[in-house]
Amino acid sequence: MEIHQFVPSFAPRDAIGQHALALRDLLRELGANSEIFADEIKPGLESQARPYSRFHPMPSKNRWLIYQGSTLSPMAHKLSERREPLIINYHNITPPHLVQSWDFGASVATSIALDQMGKLSTVARGAIAVSRYNARDLVELGFKDPVVASPFIPHQNVSPRLDKDTPRGALWLFVGRIFPNKAQHDLIAALAAYKRIFDKDAKLILIGKRTSERYALALESYAEKLMVSDSVLQSGSVTDDELAGYYHEADLFVTTSEHEGFCFPIVEAMRHRLPILAYASSAIPETVGDGGVLLKDKSPVEFASAAWLLLNDSQLRGDCYAGAEEQLRKYSYQSAKMQNLSALASFIPPLQKEL
């Protein structure tokens, strides 16, 4: 039995790459011949994946293909022409309208990517979504019966932070690429409100690659206009150890993202026992559950007030930590393993004996 995965861009510490690696290892444990093929393999990962161009040109009867869909890729079209059964594992595609003003090219690319995904609905044997939100998107793209299975989130040995009230000098943390759909400008506005109303020494750290330089520069200008540039730091990409350090030092994890198919950093924050304050968009309510505070709108004053309550109400934080524990159980390796195996078995008959 061969079950191979296809990843548009295979990068270190990337959520989709990590998910694909864990799934490959699981499939190998079950005795399958399983490899990862990618359009683009980032340096350091050459031993873990092969270029798509080297994939068997001839079809085989005992072979299944899994496409990790998240972006525009020429592989999508090529996979749709293969005879082997194809399964889509969907991680979501950023809606074009969220980036159009900032990056017209990116909006065209995501638009084509959505079109590609829609076309795959006619040939795919089945589809697995990493969240219910994503499953609903798949239905809208034409897939009939998407199945929800949590993604594999790499295990980390973390020592949880010590909980404390933070009446002064709070450090807010955001983790994710700098891109318009993440709406970091709303965090800057909320920080400006927080500094004015509650804590003039508060700071915000934005960790993540500057995927849109134009947007990243606008964030800098915005912070200057609001006179909070000294309190907002864009760190760019950081190493794993540095990231763990930031999670440990921060007082609050914040996000005002407009669109997330899952949002891995929320789970990382839960593992570090960091309070979470998030705008309830897309898949975020599912991922946060009762493990953090969710806001229905983005009013900077409301966000600032929620942050103040969360940072200075130990009872509220305790309730959130309890909720976070529940979410962490939901997103454990064991749970992801059962869900993915069960999902794949419905499309790959030889896997049914493993259930």
Binding site: D145, A218, P285, V293, V301
Partner: protein, 378 residues
């Protein structure tokens, strides 16, 4: 009845190995094909969680605490009424108009598209592998006649297309020139005085409303201050920053925002009432419709939308008001027209009018939101 495709989703096992059940086969909470009870959560409710931001009881209790904290800070005057508006405006000025909405951006986009329309037939032939470069060169020269033929047609098509876009732009510009500028750009705001009698009548009318009230153009009357004194849960919106600062110093909850903007931002069905007064009645018809529609959406069932209107034959003495009214995008309308408009905008409103006063002949129209069933019956 056809099943909503959004309900066709399935979730896999929760902690244990369980057979997969599709909702279109058995439905949530039913027995799976293998006879094992389906332990999956109902998918539709969880979807609501993730899609529209509505959240459970744990989150609901926190929302109340947050709202109280915001309210407390607002009343303390911890930030000026214009604060949030300024934060928003500062960023909006930084957003590039990549979609070509301004003229400069349109032409910048047009030029880059024009450049992209040019296609290069001179395919690169370089290669690191020995000999491959020669093969590529040979293929290029052998296929040049074919590619040239195709390219000529494509170039012809794109050139025509760009010409067409330029022609469309000219036609749009000529249409834009014919549209009169809105009142804001003329630099005048319109506010017809409201009599004390109407002021008192409306304050009494709204005093016992359950739920939160919004007073549009709150500087146009004393209704906001009267209602606040009577203990109502009320706030005002206005676009006059100086007046708002004064009102806030008087302990009133006021926000810098236009009526339409504010009504669009509040959650549907969350208000006990809305008072529309001041400049709204001289807006363009399309904007008035949007204001009425937003107000109807914002109030809860049983909530009131109160309109203070003036008749078309209104006589004004001061020159400033006369000029403002003449230059406004809209014009004053009869009570019957307002009632008709309310009916057109939403059948969920039941409207009645109260006669005006001797001085200004104002009319107060009171519309109450009724339930879906009542709305369709009427």
């Amino acid at each position: 009845m056809t099943k909503d495709p959004k309900d066709q989703l399935t979730e896999t096992g929760k902690g244990e190995s369980v057979p997969l059940v599709r909702m279109d086969e058995t439905g949530p909470g039913s027995i799976s094909p293998k006879g094992k009870p389906d332990t999956f959560e109902p998918i539709s409710s969880a979807f609501e969680e993730s899609r529209d931001g509505s959240i459970g009881s744990f989150q609901g209790s926190i929302q109340e605490k947050i709202a109280q904290e915001v309210e407390r800070k607002r009343r303390e005057g911890a930030f000026p009424p214009s604060f949030e508006r300024r934060l928003r405006d500062s960023f909006e000025r930084l957003i590039p108009q990549g979609g070509g909405t301004s003229r400069e951006d349109f032409w910048s986009l047009f030029r880059s598209t024009d450049r992209a329309a040019f296609m290069d037939i001179d395919v690169p032939v370089a290669s690191n592998t020995p000999g491959v470069s020669k093969v590529k060169r040979l293929i290029r020269s052998l296929t040049a006649w074919y590619l040239n033929y195709l390219l000529q047609q494509i170039t012809n098509f794109t050139a025509n297309l760009m010409q067409l876009i330029a022609a469309i732009d000219l036609r749009i510009k000529s249409l834009e020139d014919r549209i009169p500028p809105p009142a804001e750009s003329i630099g005048r705001s319109v506010a017809i005085p409201i009599s004390e009698k109407t002021d008192r009548f409306v304050s009494d009318l709204l005093a016992n409303s359950p739920g939160r009230l919004i007073i549009a153009d709150c500087s146009a009357s004393n209704v906001l201050s009267s209602l606040a004194k009577s203990g109502a849960d009320v706030y005002g919106v206005d676009t006059d920053e100086t007046v708002l600062d004064q009102l806030q110093q008087g302990g009133l909850d006021v926000r810098l925002s236009s009526t339409l903007e504010e009504l669009k931002n509040v959650r549907a069905g969350s208000l006990g009432g809305v008072l529309l007064q001041g400049s709204y009645e001289l807006e363009s018809l399309s904007k008035i419709r949007r204001i009425l529609k937003s107000a109807a959406e914002a109030v809860e069932v049983g909530g009131k939308i109160v309109l203070i209107t003036h008749p078309p034959d209104l006589k004004l003495n001061d020159a400033e008001s006369k000029i403002s009214i003449d230059l406004a995008p809209g014009h004053l309308m009869h009570t019957e027209t307002w009632e008709e408009l309310l009916r057109c905008v939403t059948p969920k409103l039941s409207a009645r009018s109260e006669q005006g006063t001797e001085t200004f002949s104002e009319c107060v129209i009171i519309a109450e939101k009724v339930s879906d069933q009542q709305g369709s019956a009427s």
